[in-house]
């Protein structure tokens, strides 16, 4: 899925070089804040780094999640619902490309770890892959409009996801 299939404007980049650099810096900070907000469980802020019509294809069999409220609810359910899950998401070596003055794409190497306690058993998930994102500038602010995750590897302990079906 790219910005064309989402129906978003795409066109020549007209911004002066310095403003292009500033846009890329802002997008990288935006990405940074999303991971920090998620891992510190600040759910009241999580929606605000995304566009109102954000689409996330990172929930696997759950299908696409659309919109700030549903996206916040979906991730909160995984990390901070019936079970408190400690999470660490790290993003590396961004490749950001402006596709117009108000749209951009980004690829980030990523690693995530999740831990929760099932009685006496510590459950654990450990994944590696790449985030593929799209960004839009709305009212002067860059926001995340799309995200999918490709995996190089994921492992988890046997009963890791039990809490989701139980919850």
């Amino acid at each position: 899925m790219d910005s064309t299939t989402l129906g978003h404007a795409s066109g020549p980049v007209m911004l002066p070089a310095a403003e292009q650099a500033a846009a890329i810096d802002e997008i990288q900070r935006l990405f940074a804040s999303r991971l920090r907000i998620m891992d510190t469980k600040q759910w009241d802020l999580y929606g605000s780094v995304h566009t109102p019509d954000v689409v996330s294809d990172t929930f696997g069999a759950g299908g696409s999640v659309v919109g700030r409220a549903d996206l916040t609810e979906a991730i909160r359910n995984v990390l901070d619902g019936s079970v408190f899950v400690t999470s660490v998401h790290h993003g590396h070596t961004p490749e950001i490309t402006l596709t117009s003055d108000t749209t951009a794409t980004g690829i980030w190497a990523m690693e995530d770890e999740l831990w929760w306690t099932n009685g006496d058993i510590e459950e654990h998930l450990h994944g590696y892959g790449h985030y593929h994102e799209e960004y839009r500038r709305i009212e002067g602010r860059w926001l995340i409009g799309y995200r999918r995750l490709t995996r190089l590897r994921v492992t988890h302990s046997p009963h890791y996801f039990d809490y989701l079906s139980a919850g």
Copy 2:
């Protein structure tokens, strides 16, 4: 603790955009060099990336450590004192904010691992969290003036810290 409580000047950012970008780049390189110097145990260089009055609140129950010499001694004691400790500290996705033309704050996602050998037993510490730092420009060079560490998770083997009390 913020720059106000430390009594440092804070004010409007007057630098042109290109110089602001250059300042942020320099701060990110400074941070990079601190981790590299620490993990390669170049203690003669460790103090020089900090301000003379640097305050570190990363030593837990040890309280604040103040000044280049004491900070170098404190970290050297942990990593390269009575026991040789292999360390890896990685920093990710910086969020740097200029708070005046000569002051800035930064948040970095981080992960650290330490290993040492206790006879036949390999001891290990593995942590995750965020560095919260303050920077000051002194005589044309950005330096680290303050650091604290918030943790998402730390685990370590049972006798990991024994060498510190023994040393």
Copy 3:
């Protein structure tokens, strides 16, 4: 080994500040793409991010590997030869220095993990260290001209490298 020993031109940096910043950004993206291309096994692209005369000193006892084709063959043999090896290479906190308008050096903190299955046994390598690279601008594009790897720590399962001698 530095650019002098490789016989490459080195001189004053004459580029305006904005173009220096753009060069460093491009080098950081180049580095990012190299790791992504390697871990996603796009061998038809791997050579193209390096100079035609690239030298890699990252193969240990294998000695220097020279040139795009040989370098691609060497890494392909490790990761995607007789055995399919899942790999994750992450790079952190770049320290890029322009050494002239068309040459630069870079140090990156790194972590790599490799996994392969030997019958019922999962073999694993886990390393940490720093990449030390050199870059050259050729026909308007920055490319990687040299790479070596210094290690802080490497561990691997007992029969990890058997497949290389077997292959």
